[in-house]
Symmetry: C2
Subunit: 677 residues, 2 copies
Amino acid sequence: MAQNLDQSARTPRRRSSDAPQKLPTAPEVGVGKRLQEVLDGYFPDARAELREVLDDPELRPAYGLSMEDARARTTASLEKVLATGMPHGAFRVDQGGTGATGATLTGIEMLGHNDLSVMVKSGVQWGLFGGAVSNLGTKRHEQLVRDLIELRALGCFAMTERGHGSDVQSLETTAHYDPDTQEFVLNSPTASSEKWFLGNAARDGRWAAVFCQLYTPDQEESHGVHCIVARIRNDDGSPVDGVRIGDHGVKGGLAGVDNGTLMFDHYRIPRENLLNRFADVSPEGAYTSDIESPNARFFTMLGALVRGRVTVGAAAGAATRTCLAIGTKYAHLRRQFAAEEGQPEKQLIGYRQHRLRLIPRIARSYGLQFATNLLIKRIHDLEAGNLDRANLTPEQSLDLREVEAHAAALKAANTAHATDTIQEMREATGGAGYMAENLLTVFKADSDVFTTFEGDNVVMLQLAAKELLGGFAREMRSLSNLEMVRFGLDSFGGVLRRRTGADAVIHNLLDTFTDAEESTLFDPASQMRLLIEREDRLLKSLARRLRPARKMPVAEAAEVVDRAQDHMIASAWAHIDRIILEAFFEAESAVEDERTQEVLEQVRDVYFLSVICDNAGWFLEQSLLTGTRTKAARASLNDLVDSLGPWSEVLVDAFGVPEVMLDLKLMERYDSMTPKA
Amino acid sequence: MAQNLDQSARTPRRRSSDAPQKLPTAPEVGVGKRLQEVLDGYFPDARAELREVLDDPELRPAYGLSMEDARARTTASLEKVLATGMPHGAFRVDQGGTGATGATLTGIEMLGHNDLSVMVKSGVQWGLFGGAVSNLGTKRHEQLVRDLIELRALGCFAMTERGHGSDVQSLETTAHYDPDTQEFVLNSPTASSEKWFLGNAARDGRWAAVFCQLYTPDQEESHGVHCIVARIRNDDGSPVDGVRIGDHGVKGGLAGVDNGTLMFDHYRIPRENLLNRFADVSPEGAYTSDIESPNARFFTMLGALVRGRVTVGAAAGAATRTCLAIGTKYAHLRRQFAAEEGQPEKQLIGYRQHRLRLIPRIARSYGLQFATNLLIKRIHDLEAGNLDRANLTPEQSLDLREVEAHAAALKAANTAHATDTIQEMREATGGAGYMAENLLTVFKADSDVFTTFEGDNVVMLQLAAKELLGGFAREMRSLSNLEMVRFGLDSFGGVLRRRTGADAVIHNLLDTFTDAEESTLFDPASQMRLLIEREDRLLKSLARRLRPARKMPVAEAAEVVDRAQDHMIASAWAHIDRIILEAFFEAESAVEDERTQEVLEQVRDVYFLSVICDNAGWFLEQSLLTGTRTKAARASLNDLVDSLGPWSEVLVDAFGVPEVMLDLKLMERYDSMTPKA
């Protein structure tokens, strides 16, 4: 796979305390091209290919269609996605795939530029359903993998239940093995066990990968949550006997995704349908698994599905970039109010307040994309190493844990940024932004649930914080909050700072910094140390707060953990802010061109100063910065958005949003239109 | 009109530095009833009446309908609203109305609890179109007023043009008077002059109140923007000759409102159709007006329309309260994760982080409702005084200016709060919140444009700040930014703090405070002084920044103003935060019951501490608070949401949301359902 970034770690140049120079007011288009190369990351061919495919009016998001029409349109679009060959990368060569993990994850991300219904439906089919069968199944499920890749077998990922969203281990659906017929009996024992919110269920799915409590006759208790594939519809589309299918109907968005429900009534399924990579049941009913602990087994299964979380975050990032491009280009086009009569009206981008709405968000999008690129590369490299998840080396185990923590953190960061930014772009484009034809409201509605699905953001942030709290064993996350506290804190202080893929650059950078130096707001090493210090302090004080809980009775200890929830979440954000900065440095290290370097430095400065301004209270409380410095940070942020204002269109051009997505009514230049055309 | 609050100003009790006591964990329903009395404000009968009418499944918001069905449903709902008699209050008795301004504004606000399409369509018909004809017209337009009240004449408010949203004075539509035929010739000379985003235009409107540049033969230049009523459709619904009607089609929400466009092609209209309350044209073509300055005339006309801005803010507040009720009740119902196996899962409200998502937003909704109640009462009292807007006393003029500034500020504050809170409620209810049947996404989509229409929030905040900058003459706001700076700052330092209607209470409160006292976070007088100090400092430093501009050339001075835009907006927020706190004290002063007082104090403390925490950086930079104090504020906020957690359902019950709005799928108690019902 192509890599356009040099991994041999050129250190970002140090800088004195001087604020950056104002850029020339005439932006250079060439810089945009070079910035795009950096943003395109490690799988530029995948981006280029999808960019071309996506420049297609039929792959723009629709609106105002009936539910059935919207769903049919999305299903048809999946064939176009399949035709690119991109989905094959999610599967191994022996399964009919190509194993090009990084290219596929990048490809799914690119779908986010256009129609999120297509992205989600692709993610359900190839990522979740396909990922479950391919990663949790074995040889005997190979034909199903081939069929699902080619869209001959559409399926749902039947994990969530009405009563259990984030708390997957409490799922209630049961599968009892019957040795007499060599079948599993799948059942939904309660109303709260109904499978819920499943994409592909209401209309198209013929199959479901059903997560359920597994029982065998030799043991009264459940063996824990396992996954079984089941037919849910006949070829003619009617539900099979024993399965009741419901339709969630209209949602807040994603009109093209057919979310529905499933209930099982003592539904019998062949033994072979158990996805048996990590555990199996013999014809006689004996349960076996290479992984002894039920918790470890559960998380090994879930871990194999981390890619869904990565693509949800990445695609939300792409959707955000499309909306930033729309909002920014409109700001260069639209004029309102003249300074005095007779003067031409001012472009929106000419207003400081408008620049402050756009440019810090563009900067954060740059940083998030750099960090997401690194994460995808890391997953690609891991998978290329032919991971045996049931028998990991300690090194692989640590790697995986880090990747999962970063996936959770960046899922939350990317989707929260999407929610904030798409909303801001809707508002920044005024009434025009409210017209569906200009697509911002479609993105708003479609992206809204991204903060919830594939792991609620509040849960994701706590997950990331827990991972950070120490070099926990994989099983740790399966423990209750209390057990985590009791067990985990002993190992705190170990590997506090996880590798992000930018290690060499950061190492070199910090090496150049001496403790005697006074830190400044513009020097790379100073910036890095300030965000590291924030993360460290928050984590250490969090650990101190939680430590007493170890000696408390259950209920009391749970209270201690609960009362530290805001602290835990603050720690996760500090971590996210830090790894984004690292990703900036990594990206900058690959830039040769002087002007491009200068622009990218200013973008990073905007990102960094926004973090400082947004958290000024904390830095002041901690005496890490003085009031003079935080005021200076705000003034500098203003200067920087002034400097980058004329460049802002170049900055969003570098996102490489498919052109068809910018061919919108609100982009029409009507000033020069003849009256009443 | 009934008033349930005692205006004779009982002073809130002072409090020592002690943090408030934890409330009992068993909430008292009676407190909810008493809180509702306080929240219901000055026109409780109007609320009670509408509450009953709105408890009607047909007045719930719809979703998933075709555009035509959604529009037809809204139009039908307007008949139900008419049947309440509520719209009549917006019109004078001699026009066929009742003059019950306060009750009507409160009634329109109440519509916001249910279906925002109905609220907006009502606002367009009776508030904007009706308000224009009734307030800008004279005797000769009386029949039209009677017809529009009774929905016999549906009309649009044709102000906004494609090229001109917030900048109304630059409108391009022209009306040239032709003495030969005694007609105005209405024309849309450019593409950018097309009337845009007009509710009631695409489907239902038969009339339009058209804002246009008025020309008479005796003068080459426009007399400024005036308003003329024009037929746009024939009785059979076809457009009249000379008018081209367009349809904006699908929008981000408000599916039931038929937004469209109008273009005029030398369309001839009788002279009498000029709304001639403030200016007229004689049959011979002579222009006359009691108000000499075109700017003053323009703002007198706009001022008569302030009620639209008030109801948009108020209704956004009601919509927010519905969503808070949904989110909070769900948090008491829904359980996720158990502390240990075998234990029941915990209610969402049992999580600290979840309480922090809900309770500060509930508290702000309380404060905003109190402030909005005061504003509506003030407008009611002003209008009851039979205002002659062309000949105001200096006292009335000041009053009106204050009311307009508060209307702008509270429009921005209410709608920004709606956008933030409805989004948060969607996320806090997880996947369930994304299903249209649970209505949060419908509210999200429908309320989204409230930050934009009736005055973009960024413009509103600057308008409020400009008003605050001194005791400016009414004409001030019509000046360009530059002229404002040149002229206005001389008068700075005068009436800095505007009356909010809570004057007596605040006066008494501050009187009890001695400068020698150390301020604490929980004492009412301390709280008041801290927010006053913030507003004053921001305004004074803003004035200092702007002052040099007076001596600069135009372009340079405009730059100075532009660079202070963020400062201006920060000042407006400081003002808003202060008047909300005042409104809290005013509301508290009417409470007799001890426990209710205690609860309401804690709600106010939550509001106040949220403001402190959200602006901790600023207070620290200014050395108004130490880091120890801001940390204490955060800790106290946590304690308070713990204290109010069990009471949170009582707090939202007090909003008095029509019950039908809470009869939702996500409220079903399915735990006890028999399996597979």
